[in-house]
Amino acid sequence: MITIRKSEERGHANRGWLDANYTFSFAGYNDPAHMNFRALRVLNDDIIEPGRGFGPHAHRDMEIVTYVLEGGLLHRDSMGEEHVLRPNEVQAMSAGNGIVHSEVNASEDERVHSIQIWIEPASEDLVPSYQQIAFPPSEKQGRLRLLAGPKASAGESATVINQDVRIYVTELASGQALKQTLEKDRHAWIQVLRGNVSLNGQLLKEGDGAAVSDERELSFAGSGTGGEILLFDLA
């Protein structure tokens, strides 16, 4: 079963410095019908104006994965980590038993477009941690590139999160096809970051999401000028 979450049906907030679309309930957007999908709790699509951002704030017991589509996002935290996250990089922060961080646009001239993902951890009170990795764009072109998973994989560097969830990214050119098999009793969430992609014959446009359950074979194809998607493989 595939249930599409249309882009325009997402929650939306525009604070001037922040233009955000919320796939699931977040901050002032509260929709009991869209609280989460499996362990995926938050999927925010944020555009932040130059020099602006989220000042210091706290998190607890959440795996927070951030992926940047455009620009640079400056991260600072209470562990002393200070890094700029750019396209073709992924950041995973395990809030554990408590962390304070800020995320601001690293540029005074260009906006930043970022995707923030919150995954509920498998257990509470973990020790906070921070990881950031970069990868060549070729690794996501026409194939699934693992961004985050429950343990370090042998072949490819990815961030490690404390939950049985794998997050992949892929960029498909027009007409380019990709298949992925879900293991038994697994679920998937697909989020279109850019462009258009079809999923098992159904067209998904930029900003659309799709919840997948009781399906084993996922067939993707770039539509129109192609697109970039995130694939969440969830227990």
């Binding site: 000042g55 210091p56 706290a58 607890r60 209470s78 038993n97 408590g98 962390i99 304070v100 601001v104």
Partner: protein, 172 residues
């Protein structure tokens, strides 16, 4: 019952006191409190020339934080005050805020609120000043490292506020 709210009120120009404020906040979060940061606004001409690095930090601090309001104080179950080295109650950045706190104390609006003080100089005057302001004051521990001390103190303040909140709630 709502989550305990801890207000972290600090003054920092070059980032050292901010680091302690962040650690105090982590401690409060470890105690499952909700936290809010407020940085006291600068007073023009009250400081001598800062280094270039300090000026860069100061610019960031001014962008990232807002100053505390009366509503912030009233909403908080607990407040952790964090001051840089050389704190004096008559420091221009602190005077106005401490006057506000004193007014609230006189009006009986601080009853049941918990507070703690963290200062880079452990022998500084901030704890004594906070003690006079009508809060239930949590004394700081004797941990050697400043960051660990701040974290532990933030946690203790939040834990006491949690206990008081749970206690007052169970009586209702």
């Amino acid at each position: 019952m709502s989550q305990t709210e801890v207000l972290i009120t600090f003054y920092s120009r070059c980032g050292s006191a901010e680091k302690l404020a962040l650690q105090a906040a982590v401690g409060a979060v470890q105690a499952r409190a909700m936290i809010r940061f407020r940085r006291l606004p600068d007073i023009a001409g009250s400081h001598s020339a800062d280094s270039p690095e300090c000026l860069k930090t100061l610019d960031r601090l001014r962008k990232e934080y807002i100053g505390p309001s009366e509503a912030d104080v009233l909403r908080a179950d607990a407040i952790v005050f964090v001051a840089p080295a050389g704190f004096r109650a008559v420091s221009p950045e602190w005077t106005e805020h401490l006057d506000l706190i004193e007014e609230l104390r006189s009006a009986g609006k601080l009853e049941g609120k918990v507070a703690g003080a963290i200062q880079i100089d452990p022998q500084g005057a901030l704890p004594a000043v906070i003690l006079r302001l009508g809060f239930i004051v949590v004394p700081s521990g004797a941990d050697v490292d400043g960051a660990a001390r701040a974290l532990a103190h933030g946690r203790r303040v939040a834990e006491l506020a949690n206990l008081l909140k749970t206690g007052s709630s169970s009586k209702l």
